[in-house]
């Protein structure tokens, strides 16, 4: 699984990055790398079986008074 995922990421980089470098769109390249690293940070731990904290739980606790009201 992890090999497939890394290959997918390499594929995405090879697909987008050369064109951006050729056209000298550095800002776009920076944004692309930022978003791709966020994607890696979210997906690689899941494939390796590490459970990330779920932000939804925090939001649920935060809005609990309102959702109780609506029950």
């Amino acid at each position: 699984m992890i090999v497939l995922l890394i290959m997918a990421f390499i594929g995405i980089v090879l697909f987008e990055a050369p064109g951006l470098i050729k056209k000298k769109m550095w800002r776009e390249l920076a944004a692309f790398s930022l978003y791709l690293s966020i994607g890696m940070a979210l997906s690689i731990p899941q494939v390796l079986g590490i459970t990330l904290p779920n932000p939804t739980k925090a939001i649920e606790a935060l809005v609990k008074p309102i959702s109780e009201l609506l029950k």
Binding site: R27, A31, M40, L70
Partner: protein, 367 residues
């Protein structure tokens, strides 16, 4: 400007319908019927009125700043730093949250109801890839794709008509059994769905006639409200409130009941088609909003490089954010998405933006 395409008003109405309807038609009946019982169809009507108000708010705000999307005018209203912060909140907590939720619901429905042996990740990746391809080709392509396939959603009307044979009107009685409170309370969930019309603020600048935006919003809310009411009525009239409240996808089960002369049967394939094609468009709209919004927030010339990375994020978040199984997915809708997204992003921030714009005298006169 990263997007150069233009769409006409009819395409925009159809796009907005596809953006709200597909997930709503299958998930709303169960959630609403649980609290409002046989009066659930009244809640949807209340929700439609509330949706019209939200649409009015968003379109009025958007028309004050012609040619600007949500992300551009929030910067103009609140100043650069605060406006960018609001933009990032919208990207990460609204568009990505709902987008990943739709991806997950898409997969969950297909796995639960149709193909139980397939791993869910297959559906998640496939729907994101197809939507991503449409988004990469621009708004016009997404709209034309939608225009091509929306007649399938229209076929649902025929299915509803065919199922009238199994309906009994007295299953809706007694009306107003528990009073007004449960009706209003359970109207909140459908309001959240109809409030997704906020995304129209991303589309208005690319309408060929932005002046018609009010009509676009009203028409799409009314048509969506009609379909929602029809789907809840169908489930209620066939099964009654007890059974409907216990099923996960009551509308889907209701279409399974249809059997005309032992010949016209298994019409659920129409619901599945509407779900698959509509789900792709729905994911596409939110995907598009994330990608275009990020490009505008970060000041990029082109949004296309972001399409693939955002796709990865969407798939990863769809597994991470929405619980481990279908029970949790459906639990988070009324307990997290509804209060949080409705109050903060669909009503709160647009209202705040409009008030600040009025006070600071920013933007032209609306209409």
């Amino acid at each position: 400007m990263p997007e150069k395409g233009k769409i006409d008003s009819k395409q925009a109405v159809l796009l907005m319908i596809s953006m709200i309807l597909p997930t709503a038609i299958l998930t709303i009946p169960a959630v609403t019927v649980k609290t409002a019982r046989q009066d659930a169809w009244l809640s949807v009507m209340v929700a439609t009125l509330a949706g019209l108000l939200i649409a009015r708010l968003v379109v009025s705000l958007s028309l004050r700043f012609p040619g600007q999307t949500l992300f551009e005018f929030s910067e103009e209203i609140l100043g650069k730093a605060l406006g960018k912060m609001v933009g990032f909140l919208y990207i990460w907590l609204f568009f990505l949250y709902i987008g990943s939720g739709v991806v997950r619901e898409f997969g969950v429905f297909l796995v639960t109801a149709v193909m139980p042996a397939t791993p869910i990740i297959v559906f998640l990746i496939v729907v994101t890839a197809v939507a991503g391809y449409a988004v990469r080709n621009g708004l016009e392509v997404l709209c034309r794709f939608n225009q091509l396939f929306i007649p399938v959603t229209g076929l649902l009307v025929i299915v509803f008509l065919l199922s009238t044979l199994d309906m009994k009107l007295d299953r809706l009685l007694p009306v107003f059994d528990a009073g007004l409170a449960p009706i209003v309370k359970s109207a909140v969930t459908p309001t959240m769905w109809l409030g997704e019309i906020v995304t129209l603020a991303m589309i208005i600048p690319y309408l060929s006639k932005p002046k018609e935006a009010h009509r676009v919003a009203v028409l799409s809310i009314l048509i969506t409200g009609f379909f929602l009411t029809a789907s809840i009525m169908e489930a209620l009239l066939i099964f009654g409130p007890n059974l409907t409240g216990h099923w996960i996808f009551p509308t889907f089960n209701a279409t399974r009941v249809v059997s005309i002369a032992n010949f016209l049967e298994r019409l659920e394939f129409i619901v599945i088609m509407a779900w698959v094609l509509g789900g792709i468009v729905k994911v596409g709209v939110f995907y598009y909003a994330v990608v275009l919004g990020s490009a505008q927030c970060l000041g990029l010339r082109d949004y296309r490089p972001l399409v693939l990375p955002v796709g990865v994020i969407l798939v990863a978040l769809s597994i991470l954010l929405h619980g481990e199984n279908i029970v949790e997915v459906l639990h988070y809708i009324p307990h997290v998405e509804v209060p949080f997204l409705l109050i903060v992003f669909e009503v709160g921030i647009p209202l705040l933006l409009l008030i600040v714009a009025l006070v600071r005298g920013k933007g032209g006169k609306s209409n």
